[in-house]
Amino acid sequence: MTLLRADDLSVAFGAHQALSEVSLSVAAGEMVAQIGPNGAGKSTLFNLLGGQLAAQSGRITLRGVTLAKADPAAFCRSGIGRIFQITRCFASMTVLACVQTAMLAHHRQIWRFLRPAERAFRPEALDVLARCGLGDQAGRDAASLAYPDQKRLELAVALASNPAVLLLDEPASGLAAPERLAMMRLVAELARQGIAVLFSEHDMQSVFGFADRIIVLHQGRVIATGTPSDIRTNPQVQDVYLGGNQPNE
């Protein structure tokens, strides 16, 4: 079942056309990868789908319902969760509190002013942390986590909103090979549980090892889309991407 659909999305930054008529769809339980060289427009696409940025034309629908106004909080409430290419966590909180905060937001309980939030959704938050492999880090200051754990924490925060769709902008970037694999396995496990996953990644092993489908962006256009084997053999992709300059990392 298709959960997230984008039709003919275009956006420009000044004179620079960052995305032109990009369409895609992600179904529940599916893992879709978008690849493309640096500056291809992957993060921009995530920003459109996450509500961080307004498209100049085109349409985004979730379960057939159009998300008209770019509003990240509204997108989140309708079931789209995401992580950012540059990891962001709530630096003044503990790991546990980061997840609790997202859960409070999800359950619309942030307008409570007096009762301490310490116990709010504690078991649930600990559970999410455990799923992301951070069970033993719950009490630490979020800012003091090692980089791989920060990536995991951001994933945990995104999961705290119980999303139907996950947008993962380079979830495994900057990780060493074993950690990258662990992260991708974790993501695959989430997809297996029925979440629709759209991720971007420069590491081709992760892409071809985990993606069900791949969308190739180049200079803001979709130049190819299909299964990993389709893409591997697509001459145009080889030309502009795999053939020419090898993707870095």
Partner: protein, 603 residues
């Protein structure tokens, strides 16, 4: 014709404004230091200029030489200040530099008075500075024509410096990306010293050039600093051409405004600034996002431990005990101190967890004070009702003003709060029928003994402060901090950033209003001074002194600041000097604040 002459006069004013402001813009662009002492450097320029020009021959050459000498002198002073003070603070939380430069303001004020005396010093004008020409049907000072040209000239020279020289290229690179400069192996310390000294020299130049139209006097620092900030912010932080454009806009509008609406002289500048910021938060030529993002790098904040709670309870008991033993004066000081605690705690909500700097927090304090005072006098309301009126009035107005304020961030937000506070201040001064104008509202006494009232204040402030603390660890507090720590992440998790910030703004204003109401009854009076910039600076100093990221910071900061202030005020006629030195010492020794965690000085 008279319109044109008025506009031309405005251009001369614009040049003066630009000369004050461009140095500030240069300094901010590169070092990101919000240099409160810029007005003091301008004042030093005027005094140094006066001393030099008295000795030099009264010819155009002598004048030029003296002005250049003053500029160089102030540049040297700037370099010394940078090396002695600011350099140690680049690694410290951003706002601390504000406190340090505020300390410099106090110190320089006292030093200037000690060296040059309190009297106003005017420079006899030789004929060439006195001459006028007839244009547009009126007489126009020739010196002002030179001034009109001096603005674009300085702008052009700065442009050449930044566009054509290696130094300028490095400075521009530093403005864009500080890490880049370090990566290229450029000595950042020397660069910052040079830039600060250049900015200081420009301030000195402006000060010396202001002499023929006026005099060197002790008020010049504060007179020029708000102007400089307004121009820089309206122009776009760090944009020198923007500063010139802003100066022209403000200078000309101000000059014309004097004809159309002379009563508006107190607020015109601030109304212009507010209008520009609401329409274009980054300023006329500023780039979006070029203003500083957050007041501070967030650091972990922990709920008060059991020990912390006991310490707070002990403190409250100790204050109650002190209050029952103190004589009338120390009782008044204690009352003021506990009110200051609530006031500081209210600002802390905005500044710390809310991530919004306020240069105009006095507005809420003053609105609360006036609301309580008016309720008690005009409506003859009983004490509880009058005290309730204070937070309600402040909260409602904060709700209104907050709608526009929370959309901004960084220094622009801070300046918008300042603009609003100044407008509120002008209303208090000029709406005489309601507020009593400068004479204020008198005879607001609580109908309790001073000791009884102190205990009431202690109870209200302790509970109020404790409740504010509590909110920071309640769901709302977590959400608010999330919105500050990582706004993108927070929004992607479904947090309504703008509404959270608005709520923090209103909460902060409400609590400040309550403290203002309490203070009206403590002093028996309300004056426009309760809305003035000094009061906002007091609040900032208290919070910064205590430590922005610490829960107990505002409590300790407020007690320390009021204690320090009152002791020094009584002990010495040079209290400004000593207060400045004390603040400076604290900032350098404990950059994380008195209550902040972790020891050690900033790198």
């Amino acid at each position: 014709m008279s319109f044109a002459l008025q506009a031309l006069t405005g251009l001369a004013g614009a040049s003066s404004l630009f000369l004050v402001a461009c140095g500030l813009s240069v300094i901010f662009g590169v070092t990101r230091v919000v240099n409160f002492a810029h007005g003091s450097l301008f004042m030093l320029g005027a005094y140094l200029g006066w001393s030099l020009l008295r000795l030099l021959p009264h010819t155009p050459w002598g004048f030029g030489l003296g002005v250049a000498g003053a500029a160089i002198g102030v540049a040297a002073i700037g370099a010394v200040l940078e090396m002695a003070v600011l350099r140690r603070l680049y690694a410290a939380p951003e706002l601390l530099q504000l406190l340090a430069t505020f300390a410099l303001v106090l110190i320089i004020q006292d030093c200037v008075q000690a060296i040059w005396g309190p009297a106003e010093l005017s420079l006899p004008r030789p004929p060439f500075l006195r001459a006028s020409i007839t244009i547009l049907g009126g007489r126009f000072p020739r010196y002002d024509l030179w001034l009109i040209m001096a603005g674009p000239l300085v702008l052009g020279l700065l442009h050449l410096l930044f566009a054509r020289t290696r130094f300028g290229m490095v400075v521009r690179a530093a403005t864009e990306n500080r890490a880049l400069v370090a990566a290229f192996g450029i000595d950042q310390r020397r660069l910052f010293t040079l830039v600060f000294s250049l900015g200081a020299g420009l301030a000195g130049l402006g000060g010396a050039l202001s002499l023929p139209d006026g005099s060197a006097n002790i008020g010049l620092d504060l007179r020029s600093i708000t102007d400089a900030f307004v121009v820089v912010v309206v122009g776009g932080m760090g944009s020198i051409a923007g500063a010139y454009l802003a100066a022209v806009l403000i200078g000309v509008l101000q000059s014309l405004g004097l004809v159309w609406l002379p009563q508006g002289s107190l607020v015109l500048v601030f109304v212009i600034m507010a209008a520009v910021l609401v329409i274009r938060p980054q300023g006329l030529l500023g780039r979006a996002g070029s203003e500083t993002g957050q007041p501070d790098r967030p650091t972990p904040m922990r709920a008060a431990s059991a020990g912390g709670r006991i310490a707070f309870a002990v403190l409250v008991c100790a204050l109650a005990l002190a209050g029952s033993l103190a004589g009338p004066f120390w009782l008044a000081v204690l009352t003021e101190a506990v009110i200051a605690v609530l006031f500081a705690a209210s600002l802390h909500v905005m500044l710390g967890p809310g991530g919004m700097i306020s240069f105009g927090h006095a507005a809420w304090f003053g609105i609360g004070a006036y609301a309580a005072g008016l309720a008690a006098t005009s409506l003859a309301a009983p004490l509880p009702i009058s005290l309730l009126a204070a937070p309600v009035a402040a909260g409602l107005i904060a709700l209104l003003i907050g709608q526009v304020v929370v959309r901004l961030s960084g220094v622009a937000l801070a300046m918008l709060t300042l603009a609003f506070a100044q407008i509120a201040w002008a209303v208090a001064v000029q709406w005489t029928q309601l507020t009593g104008g400068d004479d204020g509202i008198l005879g607001i006494w609580p109908g309790l003994t001073p000791r009884g009232y102190f205990l009431l204040c202690l109870a209200v402030c302790a509970i109020g402060t404790a409740l504010l603390r509590q909110t920071l660890f309640a769901p709302f507090g977590l959400a608010l901090r999330a919105a500050r720590d990582a706004p993108l992440r927070a929004a992607a998790s479904g947090l309504p950033i703008a509404r959270l910030r608005l709520a923090a703004f209103v909460l902060s204003g409400t609590a400040a209003g309550l403290s203002g109401g309490l203070s009206a009854f403590a002093k028996g009076s309300v004056f426009p001074a309760s809305l003035a910039i000094d009061r906002s600076v007091d609040a900032l100093s208290m919070v910064l002194l205590g430590g922005v990221q610490s829960v107990s910071g505002p409590v300790i900061g407020a007690l320390a600041y009021t204690g320090l202030f009152d002791t020094l005020l009584l002990a010495s006629s040079h209290w400004r000097l000593w207060l400045g030195c004390a603040l400076l010492a604290l900032v350098l020794i404990r950059p994380q604040g008195l209550a902040g965690r972790g020891a050690g000085r900033a790198a």
